[in-house]
């Protein structure tokens, strides 16, 4: 698809806004609709768009396999270890209250971290799945 100049230019123009929107959805999920899952999908969509226009190899140059794999595992680990941290602080698993001075702030912090974990894993998995499909050749 390399010869479509309009597509290439518009994609490049759009990308930062899509990514920005992804970040907004990720960090604004407490107040409006959205959260880690939706943000992860939007984030992934940006790179999927990029790889559709510029080729999978170009996208892989930005996000190598190793980073994506670390992301897949890292998000789950982040989520699960927030719970382990709570255990160490003497609370039940995934009880975020003791993570800050006040229970309410602890909850807020916990939700923030957990949503971040969701976002990382979802984005990495979606990109990996798409790249895997896109790179598959019948031989």
């Amino acid at each position: 698809m390399k010869e479509y100049l309009v597509l290439r230019v518009i994609t490049k123009l759009l990308l930062p806004f899509i990514l920005l929107f992804g970040l907004y959805v990720q960090f604004h999920g407490d107040f409006g609709p959205g959260g880690g899952f939706q943000a992860g999908v939007i984030f992934a969509a940006a790179f999927i768009l990029y790889s559709m226009v510029f080729g999978v190899h170009a996208a892989q140059a930005i996000l190598p396999e190793g980073i994506l794999r670390a992301g897949i595992a890292g998000g789950v680990l982040l989520y699960a270890s927030v719970g382990v941290l709570d255990l160490m602080l003497g609370a039940n698993y995934l009880d975020y209250s003791p993570m800050a001075a006040h229970a309410k702030e602890g909850q807020h912090l916990g939700i923030f971290l957990v949503e971040l974990g969701v976002g990382i894993t979802v984005a990495s998995v979606m990109m990996t799945v798409f790249f895997t499909f896109a790179a598959w050749r019948e031989d």
Partner: protein, 492 residues
């Protein structure tokens, strides 16, 4: 301090170790992590069981939110027994997987295999301990998705179609379960299983609840592979890698039976499930059909793995039979058979894995005379088969004995006859294998075949010895099964 968190630790240890396996990409590291995680889970399960037996039911509030606001883990004797089965079989199969993988699986992605294995373990145990209906679905899907992957890793290309078929049937089953949970939620306004059970009688058993009941039975039935909803099972078990077959055959259907038990007896309640609705009679008929038709089909199979896959469908019939008695003895028998069947099918499929490891096939004719080359492997096969048939001094005998007791209690002598006759069919299909392995001349190309390596033999024999041990000292499984049966029936 940690001991109060055991109910959640048993789940999150494999859950955390699954991503760790990927981060440490080396094959040995991944194997080490998987092994430690399964053993740690098993240790937790043992401690939990000990606590349940002394203190009774354990409840754990996740996130510190009291149910039904938050999700609760709730463990009684039945949950503890299922937990023991899953984690126990997992800890035996995990070391076994290391060597059998060499032949059956591409090495460079073995860390992911272990990760998927841990996820399957985590999902199955998560289903077994949760007290929340929707959470049960989530963990059921973790175990299902990972088992689709594990099955598809089989050598034969038919593993792919088997996995696809299981994915379709399994997802339909899971969606039916979701529909049922949704209907229950709309009727009672809660997702906590104990809370649903409390609120259902107040709500009344209206048409919504009856519909929810139907969807739950069919959905769970698809996952259990109750005859005639078993079509996905034979192919899945036949073409999956040996390790996977052994693990899934011993655990996955058991957990699904647990779901059925939990919903029929605890959530919907005995009164509604069996007194208002005539559930027992159809279950009895299906159970008896399952005891015979798949057994007969098994007698005509050439692939030994397939023989025992059909045999699994038949054995599920015995568990359903136990349920259909709707008595403490019957349930004890059914639950006991869950435990014992895990031991015997686990052992049998591990034996077949040993054979596949050496000759690359489980075809009955290729196994001709193999007992001379692999005496220990075949001895294990004989031991596990005796348990499958139900010879005294083996675990299989105990559960059949309780089934017969339950039938006697009801005065259903014809059921007793049917149990004995169906066991005789098992003799036929087992004998075909033994005849081939012991009494036929080995072909020339078998001359180089030697005994399976110790790393495969030891786990296999642990399960075989388990079959004998639990046939003699029955206090643990019978004690737990009786406790579970009594609490399910609401008798103290």
């Amino acid at each position: 301090m940690l001991s109060s968190h055991l109910p959640v630790l048993v789940i999150i240890i494999p859950l955390i170790c699954a991503p760790l396996c990927i981060l440490f990409r080396g094959k040995d590291q991944a194997f080490g992590i998987a092994l430690l995680a399964t053993w740690a889970s098993f240790a937790c399960a043992c401690l939990i069981t000990a606590r349940v037996m002394t203190e009774g039911q354990i409840s754990y509030e996740l996130g510190g939110w009291p149910p039904p606001i938050g999700i609760e883990i709730r463990i009684d004797a039945l949950n503890a027994l299922i937990l023991l089965i899953v984690s126990g079989i997992g800890s035996v199969v995990a070391p076994y997987s290391r060597n059998s993988l060499l032949l059956e699986y591409v090495e460079d992605r073995s860390s992911m295999f272990y990760s998927a294995f841990l996820l399957c373990l985590c999902g199955l145990m998560g289903v077994a301990v949760t007290g929340d209906a929707f959470n049960l679905f989530v963990f059921l899907e973790i175990s299902s998705l990972s088992s689709y992957v594990l099955i598809a890793l089989g050598f034969d290309r038919r593993a792919l179609t088997a996995s696809y078929q299981y994915l379709i049937m399994g997802t339909i089953g899971a969606t039916f379960i979701v529909i049922s949970i949704g209907l229950l939620y709309q009727a009672t306004g809660t997702l906590n299983m104990a809370d649903i059970a409390k609120r259902l009688p107040e709500h009344g058993y209206d048409r919504t609840v009856i519909s929810a009941f139907a969807f739950m039975v069919i959905g769970a039935g698809l996952k259990i592979a109750i005859f005639p909803l078993h079509q996905w099972l034979p192919n899945a078990y036949t073409y999956a890698p040996s390790t996977v077959t052994a693990f899934l055959a011993a655990t996955a259907t058991k957990v699904s039976v647990y779901i059925l038990l939990r919903f029929l007896f605890t959530v919907f309640g005995v009164h509604f499930s069996f007194e208002i609705l005539p559930t027992a009679a159809p279950l009895l008929i299906l159970a008896i059909l399952a005891m015979f038709i798949p057994s007969i089909v098994a007698c005509f199979q050439k692939n030994v793995k397939r023989v025992f896959a059909y045999s699994s469908v038949a054995q599920i019939g015995y568990m359903i039979l136990g349920i259909s008695f709707v008595s403490v003895t019957g349930l004890t028998a059914g639950i006991l058979h869950l435990f014992n069947h895990a031991l015997m099918k686990g052992a049998l499929f591990l034996v077949l894995g040993c054979i596949f490891y050496r000759i690359g096939s489980c075809h009955i004719d290729r196994m001709a005379g193999i007992a001379r080359r692999m005496p220990w492997t075949m001895a294990a096969f004989v031991g596990a088969s005796l348990s499958l048939i139900g010879i005294p001094m083996t675990a299989g005998f105990i559960s059949k004995w309780y089934l017969i007791l339950a039938a006697y209690e009801k005065g259903w002598w014809y059921v007793t006859v049917l149990i004995v006759v169906s066991s005789l069919i098992a003799v036929i299909y087992v004998w075909r294998v033994i005849e081939s392995a012991y009494f036929r001349e080995p072909p020339d190309d078998l001359a180089t075949v030697s005994e399976a390596p110790l790393s495969l033999l030891v786990p296999t024999w642990i399960l075989v010895i388990g079959n004998v041990y639990f046939g003699i000292d029955t206090s643990l499984p019978v004690g737990l099964a009786e406790l579970a049966a009594k609490s399910l029936m609401g008798v103290n």
